[in-house]
């Protein structure tokens, strides 16, 4: 169960759904354009970027994930993808993703949690592949900026076979 909580614009502190979707679409746009360097400072210092293997996983630290990145791993991942020496990322696949069906699941004074649907189409060489997933976000207001604190991408087929993914979800 979740409730769509409308924020009173007069308080100003809470993150509105409109602000959240604007942020999430901007992030998706960065990722599709492979503009990974500005993606790193979107995160809080303790932010975690997680892509679990099991669809119902929640104890990510003690389970195997496809990715479970802290700040150090995110930075290393971006460096790797942009290095030009990773053959799965150079040349890169082209991706087009859309994120929608937003549901606000929790709202705090300075934070918002949402879940959303992501559909991503990947093209490389002679093939086109589709990845779909449920994405949950926790966004925080830090100073004047909205930051990404948690992002969990639950692919529809996460516990089945995938293919090499040479880009960020």
């Amino acid at each position: 169960m979740s409730t769509l909580i409308m924020t009173d614009p007069a308080t100003g502190a809470a993150i509105t759904l409109e602000e959240a979707t604007r942020f999430i679409w901007a992030e998706a746009d960065l990722l599709d354009r492979l503009d990974y360097k500005p993606w790193l400072p979107l995160w809080t210092a303790n932010g975690r970027y997680t892509i679990p293997v099991e669809h119902d996983a929640d104890d990510f630290d003690n389970q195997l994930n496809i990715a479970h990145d802290d700040a150090v791993m995110r930075e290393a991942r971006v460096k790797r993808l942009l290095s030009g020496f990773s053959m799965s990322a150079a040349p890169p696949a082209r991706t087009v993703r859309t994120i929608s069906r937003f549901v606000v699941t929790e709202q705090e004074a300075d934070a918002i949690k949402l879940r959303a649907a992501m559909v991503l189409v990947e093209y490389k060489y002679e093939r086109t592949r589709v990845l779909a997933g449920d994405v949950t976000y926790r966004l925080l207001r830090e100073g004047g900026d909205i930051k990404l604190d948690r992002k969990v991408v639950r692919l529809a087929n996460c516990d089945d076979f995938l293919h090499g993914i040479g880009y960020l979800l």
């Binding site: 195997l64 994930n65 496809i66 990715a67 290393a76 020496f85 093939r127 516990d159 993914i165």
Partner: protein
Amino acid sequence: MSSMDFGALVKDDRVHTALYKDPAIFDEEMERIFKNTWVWVGHDSEVPSANTFKKSFVGNQPVIVTRDKGGVIRTLLNRCRHRAASVCEKKKGKQSVFVCPYHGWSYDIDGGLRKVPYADGYPEGLDREEFGLIRLRTETYQGMIFATFKEDIEPLVEFLGPARKWMDLFMKQGAGFGVKVLGEHRFRFPGNWKIQLENTTDAYHFPIVHKTFLDSLDAETENIFDVIGSGGWVEDLGHGHSVMVMIPDLIDLEDNLDAAIPDRFAELAEELRAEGHDEAAVRRIVRAVGGTGFNLNLFPNVACSMAFFRVLRPVGVTETEIQHVAIGMGDANNTPSPAGNRARLRLHEHFQGPMGFGTPDDAEGWERVQRGARAGDDLWIMLNRGSEAPAGRPQPGHNAGDASSEVGMRAAYQQWKRMMTA
């Protein structure tokens, strides 16, 4: 195609490209190889107690691996004996009965036919002995479960032969607590299964393909992974099996336990002490956390690869599925070191899986092999690296040669030739 033709496609130092792309060869491989040898189907920690099961494959045939109330592990074809529907579509779990969803025939965990609805429709009666799930011969060594369609095959321990010593060494990464499966990555690549089989005994590609993985390591670890020309070797262990030693210092994880704990593991060591482990256990866990310094390649479908099991499954002549099975310390009822296993999980995620820092580049490389193999009508795949020992060194093999030798691939293809021409 006759047996003679298969033999001509494998020479001592090269194999014909047809082995990667001829559908007729693939069909024959499924019969002559995957139905005539021991094939890995699981680890006993995946069926830890009575009435537990996991789905698996022998070649391209779906099976269920089960443990019955008496502890016996069995491999059963996942096919109802009535009209063929699969009786299990859960990856793993615990239940004592499999019920076919189509007409309700039910089977015990050991495969025996249990009940048939409206049985009076068979006036002559049904022979329960005849219509149980088909059982494959199943044997285990060091917790690794293998099954075979070939009833009269040699015992598993003989098939493994000298590879057993390396399996014993590999399991020492349980640090005395045993080894259990923690999870698995699964991915496919559009290429032939033997491209992957070769890769687990291919140190030559490592510094090239995995440059970005190496660049992501601390300097000390990067140095350890500098495996070419560092005293490693590849050894033919018979039956198509081989071992590639990359880091000789990490062959026996029970050696050198008195050495100082490296700085990069200081934080982990503190966590382990906080878990209540004594200093000896802390040293054992830290030394074992990254796995062993070798890949043991077992023909045809599994490898004990440093810190995980690599499992391959041929899907089609140009489609292969890989599992990277993460392993840690303990057993089904006991996790002696959550911190140690967390460290192992993070190391696994770092390299393996669809978004690891290593696997996607491997998968892309294998796909490129398959794409390139379309070119040329009569070209060969070269496996001649390290045929001769470097001057003044003994012949490649135990403690000689180099980790980048292709002797392990030659061993696998000689087994392929023996089985395809038998």
